[in-house]
């Protein structure tokens, strides 16, 4: 049997309602009343449909679906929360039609319970909110990661570190593009493992192999070695390569990351520092040794003096003391000059216009006395009134060092020649001796401190600062020192001074 139309209305599978245009309920079916928990009499003619909604639902009704219903004549699938008699909100779906009946507009509404759909939608909304939150968190993370990446990049570039990796699974070696700079390329570019290995100094390749083996040993994992790279730009660079491998639980290498640092400059500085330290040690040794002899002489002479009663012998002993003291003094002066020149201030000079030949004549006579067993020939080939800008005492010292050097290394039976000659750029001061020539490989470092001739005797030698000081004095005078040496011509040291206009009246040099 098919039910009567009224049954279909009253007990329909949805709540049905007829309202006037302003929402006042005119008719409502049993299904709706059962769901909402109201009696028909409570609703019909008494309540408006919007009164059965939550406050939010009422605003939504006023601002959204009521205007829509008026303009469009219908709405469908509106989600609302109905407040039943119990006060509990019930999620409902609503379809509505606006229809003209008996010259007035009425609204026909159909409600469907939507508990399950509501739960499902709530879950969807919740999931969407979670997805949005995790997306936000993800974006924050990404931006932090980006910032950390930038910071790391700046740090690496500032420290001039070049990064490389080995994929633990494929064994593939990869270098960051900036690595190319270390290999002598002007711009960053991709570099392959083969390309890199080809540029490593062949003598150093074994070190790399050993360091790699050490890094792959799970007990260590540390990679560290220093090797040279022959750059494509022709420059050899020394690099310090360090890194660490990360191992999985089963001992397989998962990652390896390393950094390379160009330590060429540090290496050079280190070598220089080492050489300076060695030099200082040697010099202290020589100075102590060389000071011991004259001091011992002075000490002995003093004892002899106190024991000696014959006055005629005093003069000889005193002369011995004077010489020993002079040697010790010269040694100390040289050390002071050296220290001054070495710490970068240069030698102190007081430059004035002087007559160079007068100074040299004095030097010659003094040095003749100092080397009584030897012959010193002085010759002046320049006009007598030639004026130079120079420090007379320093010129004295320089000539003394050069003549002493010539006496020490020159042939003992031949004279040493001291001369002033006219040169292209001024006046040349030449000290010449006969004898075995200076070995050619010594010439380039001849003026460096602690350079000594081969056949030296402890009595004659100085601490090897003589020629160094000659060069420093010349430098202070903007003059140039050159040396020429051969078996036939003998050895000549030449210092060239500039000449001053002769009109100027030179100061009287102090003696």
């Amino acid at each position: 049997m098919i039910g009567a139309p009224d049954d279909l209305y009253e007990d329909a599978a949805c709540g049905l309602m007829l309202t006037s245009s302003d929402g006042l309920i005119q008719r409502v079916n049993t299904t709706f009343c059962r769901w909402a928990g109201f009696d028909k009499t409570d609703l019909e003619g008494k309540r408006r449909v919007q009164d059965l909604l939550t406050v939010g639902g009422r605003i939504f009704h006023q601002t959204h679906w009521a205007p829509l219903l008026r303009l469009q004549g219908s709405v469908a699938e509106v989600k609302i929360d109905l407040v039943g008699a119990s006060g509990q909100p019930m999620p409902m779906m609503l379809n509505a039609l606006r229809r003209e009946r008996a010259e007035a507009f009425v609204h026909e509404l159909a409600f469907f319970l939507a508990e399950d759909r509501h739960k499902y939608e709530t879950e969807l909304l919740l999931a969407r909110r979670r997805a949005e939150e995790s997306l936000t968190a993800q974006l924050v993370l990404q931006s932090e990661l980006r910032r950390a990446g930038v910071r790391l990049k700046i740090a690496l570039e500032t420290a001039d570190l070049h990064v490389w990796h080995i994929d633990g699974i494929t064994g593939q070696v990869s270098f960051e593009d900036r690595f190319a700079l270390l290999l002598g390329y002007a711009e960053p570019r991709p570099i392959s493992g083969e390309e890199f290995l080809a540029l490593v100094e062949p003598a150093d390749r074994d070190q790399l192999t050993r360091a790699s083996a050490e890094a792959m040993n799970p007990a260590s994992g540390i990679y560290r070695c220093v090797y040279r790279i022959n750059g494509t730009d022709g420059i050899q660079r020394t690099v310090l390569s360090s890194g660490r491998a990360q191992f999985a639980a089963d001992g397989r290498c998962e990652y390896f990351t390393g950094v390379l640092q160009d330590i060429t400059e540090q290496r050079q500085q280190q070598a220089e520092a080492e050489s300076r330290a060695l030099f200082a040690e040697q010099m202290v040794g020589i100075a102590s040794h060389d000071l011991r002899n004259p001091l011992q002489g002075i000490f002995l002479a003093a004892e002899m003096l106190s024991a000696q009663s014959e006055p005629e012998k005093h003069a000889r002993i005193v002369e011995g003391v004077r010489k020993a003291a002079a040697r010790a003094t010269r040694l100390v002066t040289e050390l002071l000059d050296f220290t001054q020149a070495r710490i970068g201030r240069g030698l102190s000079v007081v430059i004035k216009p002087i007559y160079l030949d007068a100074v040299l004549a004095d030097c010659a006579s003094e040095l003749t006395l100092a080397f009584p067993d030897r012959e010193l020939l002085y010759r002046c080939d320049i006009p007598p009134a030639t004026v130079c800008n120079a420090d007379a005492d320093r010129v004295h010292q320089m000539v003394g060092n050069l003549v002493s050097n010539a006496m020490t290394y020159g042939a003992k039976n031949k004279p040493v020649n001291l001369s002033l000659e006219t040169a292209v750029n001024g006046i040349a001061l030449v000290v010449h001796n006969q004898g075995p020539p200076i070995p050619p490989d010594m010439i380039p470092t001849l003026f460096e401190p602690l350079t000594r001739g081969v056949e030296t005797h402890s009595e004659k030698r100085s601490i090897g600062l003589g020629l160094f000081i000659v060069r420093e004095i010349a430098k202070a005078h903007h003059a140039e020192v050159t040396v020429s040496s051969s078996a036939e011509q003998g050895t000549s040291f030449t210092v060239t001074f500039a000449v001053v206009d002769e009109l100027e009246e030179p100061h009287q040099t102090e003696r």
Partner: protein, 276 residues
């Protein structure tokens, strides 16, 4: 992006006086479908959508700019300057747009000849000595309702036309956008609208103002109209018999009558006002 496409500005009608219509929270300029054609017979009529609503350019929605009604007021001033051939204009604002008009007027009073406010409210939340109609919890409840209609009202699914007999049908292109908003924009607009308080701005408006108050309006209770009339120096209150918040839809005749009468009572445009 031009102002015209940003706000989906539509201009109709001709006349010496321009009337600008601004819709309220929820829908778009389609709300003026019953009123605008009447005014267009004798006035130049400008309709537009607030950014974020209807066919406005959603890409222009800037959550910082539209966090307060000031952002919308700036847009309104731009629309008037761009599209109004004569100034000052008569501004018709529904609901929240009436307050957007207040803010725009305070910034550029010379642009406004009159405000016609339909169901306005300067503050929706109850306060000491003031009844706005809602509590903060009620507004939260609205936000939840907006959320739960997210599936039905956003994306591609427009409210279905069921084809009620004897009803003029809207064009498909209108139904596709009408009352449909991006849920995030809708929620922010709801917050901006319902949590705002512009009571302090009302006394600053010197432009003649009509307040159309419905006799039974959930969103703007009857006390609100009285409060506004008391607070605004040159305002007139008209209460019309209507249930609901949209008298321009549910009581268009009464609504129009109040508006026309108010316009008629004002001095004709162009004449210098005396004694102000």
């Amino acid at each position: 992006m031009t102002i015209g496409s940003r706000n989906n500005v539509q201009v109709t009608g001709q006349g010496p006086q321009t009337v600008v219509f601004a819709h309220g929270f929820g829908c778009d300029q389609t709300m003026w479908r019953l009123l605008a054609p009447l005014f267009a017979q004798t006035h130049r009529v400008i309709l537009f959508d607030l950014v974020g609503s209807g066919c406005s350019d959603l890409a222009s929605y800037d959550s910082e700019k539209y966090a307060s009604l000031d952002g919308y007021a700036s847009d309104l001033l731009e629309v008037i300057n761009e599209y109004s051939s004569d100034i000052p204009v008569i501004f018709v604002g529904h609901s929240v747009s009436a307050m957007i008009g207040v803010l725009a007027d305070i910034r550029s009073p010379d642009l406004f000849r009159a405000h016609l406010m339909i169901s306005p409210s300067p503050c929706y939340i109850d306060d000491e000595g003031y009844r706005g109609g809602f509590s903060r919890a009620d507004i939260e409840s609205l936000l939840n309702t907006l959320d739960s209609n997210y599936l039905g009202w956003s994306s591609t699914m427009a409210p279905v036309i069921m084809g009620a007999p004897g009803q003029p049908e809207l064009g498909a292109e209108l139904t596709n956008s009408f009352c449909r908003t991006d849920p995030n924009i809708a929620k922010q607009f709801a917050r901006t609208t319902f949590l705002s308080d512009h009571r302090a701005q009302l006394p600053k408006v010197q432009t003649p103002t009509l307040i159309v108050q419905c006799s039974d309006d959930l969103i703007a209770p009857i006390e609100v109209g009285a409060f506004m009339e008391r607070t605004m120096p040159r305002s007139t209150l008209r209460i019309i018999e209507n249930v609901g918040h949209c008298p321009h839809l549910s009581a268009p005749d009464a609504c129009t009558k109040a508006m026309i009468e108010f316009i008629g009572s004002m001095e004709p445009p162009g004449l210098p006002s005396v004694g102000d």
